[in-house]
Symmetry: C2
Subunit: 224 residues, 2 copies
DNA sequence: ACCTGAACACCGTTCAAGT
DNA sequence: ACCTGAACACCGTTCAAGT
């Protein structure tokens, strides 16, 4: 797609695509998706808002490029002596941590829109699926399930973060008030929700995420 | 929160919250999140944009209310003579279909922000988890995994739909071009992605979604 | 040749003015 | 008492004008 846009030959100290993306990541990290505007971005880069369009097509492209930059760093995992299951866990946790540090990538990330980095994640996980001897007809659906789960948690993470910062509350306060609300539900209609209200309050997102991965891995083993 | 906003006593044929939400759902269905603006909405309702704020706090609230309306219809599933597994499948598929018909609810839906309808889904699935005799310490994480997966797929669905309509292409064309791109990847670095390129092209989102649910259910059984 | 930044066509939201 | 719709403070994006 961007074959003809080779800017490397220039020697002016002017704008570069990499510089723009890096600054965008900083703005996204500190202010979420709303924190990134072409006006603040161009201000940081000491230029006019129009100048950015020489390097980037539009805002969607800019966010996609920022995602790529973050995930490509995440995916650089050396193949150590790990079992297929351990490798899947490692990759999944790396993705979780990246989406936790940069909540804005959650909704922007998709593995089917042709983002090259997500294809690399797909390859990485897919190879473990093969190593786990999943029959060939089941491979696609199995990889789909894992990736959907991983990206899904990232998306939920983003919603929660946004919700929390909109209310100006921290995570603990939010969980506490939600827990209280759940405990106050009628016990005839909501026995289950009431029963886990206190457990929910103290849950660990990261640990629960991994339990979900393990559940899917256990399901894969069980199906073979 | 909204205890004092009881509008039922009025008898004028003026605006109602329900009417606003219904119109909003129509606009969202036909034009996505961008299709809903206060100007077009108020136009449809034959009023000014300001009038809506008497019934709804802001756009976020409006979308949340639209979600609630859609999901509450979805969740009205009669308890038939189904096994716990079958019930989970039924609920999950109902959610999938709702998110497929209304792609905009995917990103807006979250079960931790106190949306009452999602709590009902949580209860419904949680009761099956209890019936499956998941040990009490594992219940929260198990329900989390299922709900995260369900909502995650919905979120991905939304991204894909948005992507497709932005390009003005249909699903088949998108999958075909993606499949071609995957087949053209270097075989040394991307053996797995290449191997499933053709399978991906013909995959059925709904069937794959269900396979993921079954994988998690199998994992639950395996863990007991 | 490259950058600038005013201008355009939109948003969500508010609130004085009408009826 | 309730609704209206101009006005405000923003957006992303474009493009004539500058250097």
């Amino acid at each position: 797609m961007s074959k003809s846009l080779n800017n490397r030959v220039r020697r002016t100290e002017s704008l570069s695509r990499e510089q723009i993306v890096d600054t965008a990541i900083h703005l996204l990290d500190s202010g979420g998706e709303d924190g990134l505007t072409f006006r603040t971005l161009s201000e940081r880069l000491a230029t006019g808002p129009g100048a950015i369009y020489a390097y980037i097509a539009n805002k969607h492209d800019l966010i996609a490029a920022a995602c790529e930059a973050v995930i490509s760093r995440t995916v650089e995992i050396k193949a150590r002596d790990l079992s297929p299951e351990e490798t899947v866990r490692t990759v999944a946790l790396a993705m979780f941590d990246a989406m936790d540090t940069h909540p804005w990538i959650g909704p922007a990330l998709t593995w089917s829109a042709g983002q090259l980095t997500m294809v690399r994640v797909l390859e990485l996980i897919g190879q473990q699926i093969v190593a786990l001897e999943v029959p060939i007809q089941a491979r696609w659906a199995t990889v789909s399930a894992l990736l959907n789960y991983i990206l899904g948690v990232g998306g939920q993470n983003a919603v929660n973060t946004k919700f929390a910062q909109k209310l100006g509350a921290n995570r603990e306060d939010l969980l506490a008030s939600l827990s209280t609300a759940w405990s106050a539900l009628p016990s005839d209609a909501y026995p289950f929700v009431r029963s886990i209200a206190s457990e929910m309050r103290m849950h660990d997102d990261r640990a629960d995420f991994l339990i979900g991965i393990d559940l899917i891995l256990a399901g894969i083993k069980n199906n073979n």
